[in-house]
Subunit: 356 residues, 4 copies
């Protein structure tokens, strides 16, 4: 009996998720689609056998036909829908951010704690990218010794005219803010924002560099260049005391022509992370299946990916980066302590890894 | 309603297919598993919710619960089961080879022709590898001009003691024998076998080089080195009149340690082609779904991958390589003309590509 | 008539220079060798036909047999010998640093200004490395637009126990401090020192990161890791507004073995920069030959490489890095204005480049 | 006292050699230049202080001012001048080929034997390329076990309209014909010529593949594509029983722009082998210096590079390739036995290597 999924929001990410679930994920089907643009919802639904379009996201969340929900609507609506899902006790995959403000994130943490179970998985897909997964595994194995530095590069070909310095932090840097602590096994304690260009409120500083200090002192340098002018590229090298590990290039073909040997960059993140999105969705569906099948531990812990706490942490760190941007110099990350619900699941995750 | 799949044979490939379908393919489930070793069949079945083990492959093929069949049993049994599937009018994914001998392959062609529909997809998974797919698309686009040469490298870390020169041809070279005509859009007309080591019947010449001449004269050099001693590696560079295109390395992490920068090789083909196997199975399931849904063209043409004709061609060419091996020097490939059933589907495939 | 060169100091660098001049440089010969360890001087001299060993560096400088001098003695002696060479009006190639303190560097500038001619070339050999030369030329061509960032990596396999944080700045970072303004065509205005490890005076923080801000705002991130544990590696990527340019790996052979494809790192800088040293020496000899031949412009400007001003700038910036290290946070570089002698030669250099 | 060199022929190679000796070789100077085009000879001579132009090559060879001779005139004149040099007992660096015909090569061998000393070094510069040198050293070290295969790629951007299939063999393939036996430590016993294009006498088959069988059975595949359309590229991978070793790419800068990461190819061989030419000339000059200095062994053996025997072998193998080209199928290499003069020097070379 496949997991029946309702999808809220049919922009690029929502439509991609619908297609991936329908064509490349085992054990799930898209049954309902909601969008404030109802014609768009109907168009996307018409491509999926058996799926129907709904006008209201709230109806989708409450529909008895829907086992689990994907939130891919506009950023400002994420927390509203996530709270409704928690109230309906339905697993939810929420595209980042969990919420635009820290207090909204905190409210979701309180609701999940009250419910006694983690319902929300955040859409930080890099945790499912085979490259980052191998990087993390090999760092953890001790192969290159204690990590002391990391160099990240995050470049886009171009961005829309409305993009500001803040957008870079929330939409781009948030990926490294989430994934680097996960790769290195340490939380971020301090951040420092730099740019070769002048800060003008409401405009775009580009490129930016965010320096993150982690527990124990390791430094992560994250270059964000959203108008790089040449292509979409993600790089990450972790430097340990006995060697380094770095994501390999991902192009599939090497071409020789016109006095050059070359490999192509994708023009945006979807080509780069298509496999990560597929694995993210499959892992989420598998976690829901395990939950449903009544396995004891997973009954209290359905999730296998980043959770609301990770969404909260990303929000806290991103807001701290803005503090550094606006006043200059390093800023300390101030965060609540890890609630017991999330602490418990992390212990289980560690056990699972040790056993696996 | 998912496609219900029966799997015959639970060796490495059969067990992998069961797992892939169960965990990573949309629209299908494994319902029956047969193996001459009934305990092995039961073990594998026990891992799949709702799957049952059968003692006889014939029962699996005829079971009304089974919509489609995967043949992953020993090579000698492939044609027997494929013929039974055709008789039962059930789509089948048959691991290579279609049959050990050319006459057996021909018999399957005749049965499909009599049935008027292609039932058999061959397990040449490289046609679904994203690297080969991009290579073929870019060759076809004319980006590097008319292809005139190709250099293939096919190396294994090691092979069992029972492996002979003939095994290399049938189990290893058959992949390039299938995929290179597909990449280059030309059939093989002549082959020439070479080795730096002496031919001793029943033993292993290693490495071997198979030179294939294609229609129009293009030459493919295929190095096969099954005891390379260092790892599993597949390379392919196609040389056109205006440039070359080559498969890129596939490692995901670059390591620096001990005075070296390095990337790992997998120890066998499963890591290298895991994604190709997943896409092969998904494409096969999608083709069956389209067939079932009554689309007119796909009613006569359910398949989206290599078919029985490709299996026949691979057998003919491989046997011609043996002729060259045993008597020395080039040998011409002698093949029946393309039957109308397969010719028709190739026209459709070309149309689909042009439209796509 | 070859240029007759006297070499002061026969440690690793001095001995290497003697060998390079004797075996791979056109138009020069080593005629005198001085070292405080006279047996060492005699040993090295015995390898060079016609060369003699001297006990005092001062005698070497004043010897009428010596046309030009290489200073490769201990750091603290550099400025003393450089001043003697200026007094003797002999061209000198001085290994870095020009002097351990800024005032000593300033004194040399004053002496050269008084002499009205630049005599001193600094041993910043990277300016002759074919990779850096190509990088600079292509940056200057505008191929990737205005440079806004650069990422440098400078890693050693290991260093002696006596090495401190300050040694890293003076001996390692000084290379990027010199070469990056030259590559980017801008001076350094501000520096910021960071490390994942605690600053303890007299001990070694490792790795360190020096962030340099250049005129116009471009930021250079320089990672210095002297006990990297894996090998000697130099990396440099310059990020422009329309693309990036990066030094390519320099290994000459790719090896496949033991489940890895790998390239070797050298264990120290000499293998990496052997070609740069040869070209540095050849360019220096050529400049002296042009001077001697009486070409008008070169009569006032014999040098073709980094000069005393560059040595002064490197000292000023390195000392500013120490300020940042000791008190934390960014520190502004405070430097005298460019004296007319050095300004003039820079105009000539620019003209030569434009004409070339 | 520098070696005074006379250069015959001032085409591309001759002019390059003059410049290299004058600007980058220790211990030598160009004193005389001859060319059938006397204005060309004067032009080149005018760039070298102290050099004079001569009208007749014979005068240059006999001039008491000339210690050693470089022959870079047209191919047909090589043997005539080489013989004159032997008669004058002057060391000679002869650009390939030694002579266009095998009998002419044999005559030179006889003359050297009669003289009792090897005078002629052949201009197979790859033997001085740092990549090939490292490849050979590491093969010899046993790092990858016994070599069994090699894959060579030799591609030019384009060639003049007059270029024929034979030109490819004599001008391009001759490099691999010389260098691969040197790298692998085995002579060529058999060759086989293939091409995807039809053989038409006097026209150009392109690409060509020359398969060489070496003593012990190792096979070398040499692709020669003179109108590759994309750039000048040399590749070489040697496959041993325990791994492979391959020349690394030689570009110095990696560029990212326009949706590609790329490295440039040179447009011809001069950029690729500039360092090899410099080392070739330096090694030749060093050998002459040793000879002159009266070292006993080098008195009978001045050369450190490929000699007349290597030139003879290259001619014999190239002519055997033409046999295969014209009649199809493999052809055995038939060569005289190694004369004692060359045998002796090979023993010495081996001893030197073992001692070194």
């Amino acid at each position: 009996m496949p997991i029946r999924i309702g999808v809220i929001g049919t922009g690029i990410m929502g439509a991609d998720h619908v297609e991936t679930i329908t064509t490349a994920v085992s054990g799930a089907e898209v049954c309902c689609i909601a969008d404030i643009d109802s014609r768009r919802a109907e168009l996307i639904a018409s491509r999926v056998p058996g799926a129907k379009a709904l006008s209201a996201a709230e109806d989708l969340i409450e529909s008895p036909e829907v086992d689990a929900v994907i939130i891919a609507s506009s950023d400002a609506t994420h927390s509203k829908y996530a709270k409704a899902c928690i109230a309906a006790r339905k697993p939810v995959l929420c595209e980042k951010p969990l919420a635009p403000t820290v207090p909204e994130c905190e409210e979701i943490l309180r609701l999940e704690e009250a419910a006694g179970v983690r319902m929300v998985q955040l859409g930080f897909m890099r945790r499912f990218d085979p490259g980052y997964v191998e990087l993390r595994r090999r760092i953890a194995s001790g192969e290159v010794g204690t990590p002391v530095l990391a160099h990240c590069v995050h470049r886009n070909l171009d961005v829309p005219a409305s993009w500001t310095s803040e957008t870079t932090v929330f939409s781009s840097a948030s990926h490294e803010i989430d994934v680097m602590p996960w790769v290195l096994g340490r939380d971020i304690t301090k951040v420092n924002w730099l740019s070769p260009t002048q800060v003008v409120p409401g405009s775009l500083c580009d490129p930016q560099v965010v320096i993150m200090e982690l527990e124990g002192g390791a430094l992560v340098f994250d270059e964000l260049f959203v108008k790089s002018g040449y292509g979409y590229e993600i790089r990450c090298e972790v430097v340990g005391r006995e060697g380094t590990l770095e994501l390999a290039p991902t192009a599939r073909v090497v071409a020789r022509s016109s006095l050059k040997v070359s490999q192509d960059f994708p023009s945006d993140w979807r080509g780069r992370f298509a496999e990560a999105y597929r694995r993210e969705l499959q892992a989420w569906v598998n976690a829901i299946s395990r939950w449903r099948s009544g396995n004891v531990e997973s009954a209290v812990d359905p999730l296998d990916g980043p959770d609301a706490w990770d969404g909260y942490r990303a929000a806290v760190v991103a807001h701290t980066v803005l503090v550094s941007m606006s006043r200059g110099g390093p800023a300390a990350v101030e965060s609540m302590t890890l609630p017991e619900l999330y602490s418990r699941s992390r212990v289980i995750a560690t056990k699972t890894r040790l056993a696996g």
